[in-house]
Amino acid sequence: MNIFNKFYVQPFDYILLKLPYSKPFLFVDTLQVVTENGVEGQYTFPADSSFYAGHFNKMPVTPGVILTEVMAQIGVVCLGIFLLNDSPTDELEVALTATQIDFYKPVFPGETVTVRSSKDFFRFHKLKCKVEMLNGKDELVCRGTIAGIMKSKSHA
């Protein structure tokens, strides 16, 4: 798929194209805001996502680890790709190094969540962010800090 054939091109689509994930582990639909200090993006959980079959038995709720992954992909990896945009290579090295998340509301199949993150620091390849997730009613779902290593492979 070439996004440039579409009539309307989202301004941050180039970031989505550089994400090192694909289905069923791609958890970013759209990015609304990306600056050097933070990012806002959205993801809708398809009701047929495989994890709902077993979490929980007969009562599908989005697992906390998946919510954490959504926050990491939108809040840290998308921001990192934006911050590394000037680097000479597209080859990314990404590693999650720490998370501290508190959870407040459940997320059910089909819900759309908004993730907002603000950069704490990006130094020596470590990107640390404060990240929060809101549901469709603007209620706080979860919040915390996530850190990872983000570098272009030419630096390795």
Binding site: A95, T97, A98, F121, R123, F124, H125, K126, I149
Partner: protein
């Protein structure tokens, strides 16, 4: 400026929260390697560098960061940056 012993004491305070091998931490020498001996991960080594910057009001550049792998190397970098202030 702090003596080398004082620098090591301050550095130990900074490093302590990130240490995964307490036994190795009790026997720290200048040769102690943050990653190999104290089992600190590279992401927490960045936290240590930032804490050192704050404690001594210095800036650690990329080149120094790459060298900052042992207690002795860290002390040398701190001394060098303090001398250049």
């Amino acid at each position: 400026m702090q003596t080398k012993e004082e620098l090591i004491t301050t550095l130990k305070t900074i490093v302590k929260p990130y240490v995964q091998d307490e036994q190795a931490f009790e026997h720290v020498t200048e040769e102690t390697d943050f990653i190999r001996d104290l089992k600190i991960n590279s992401a927490n080594l960045v936290d240590i560098a930032l804490d050192v910057e704050e404690a001594y009001d210095i800036e650690i550049d990329n080149e120094s960061m790459e060298k900052m792998l042992t207690v002795g190397a860290a002390i040398e970098i701190i001394q060098e940056k303090l001398a250049a202030k």
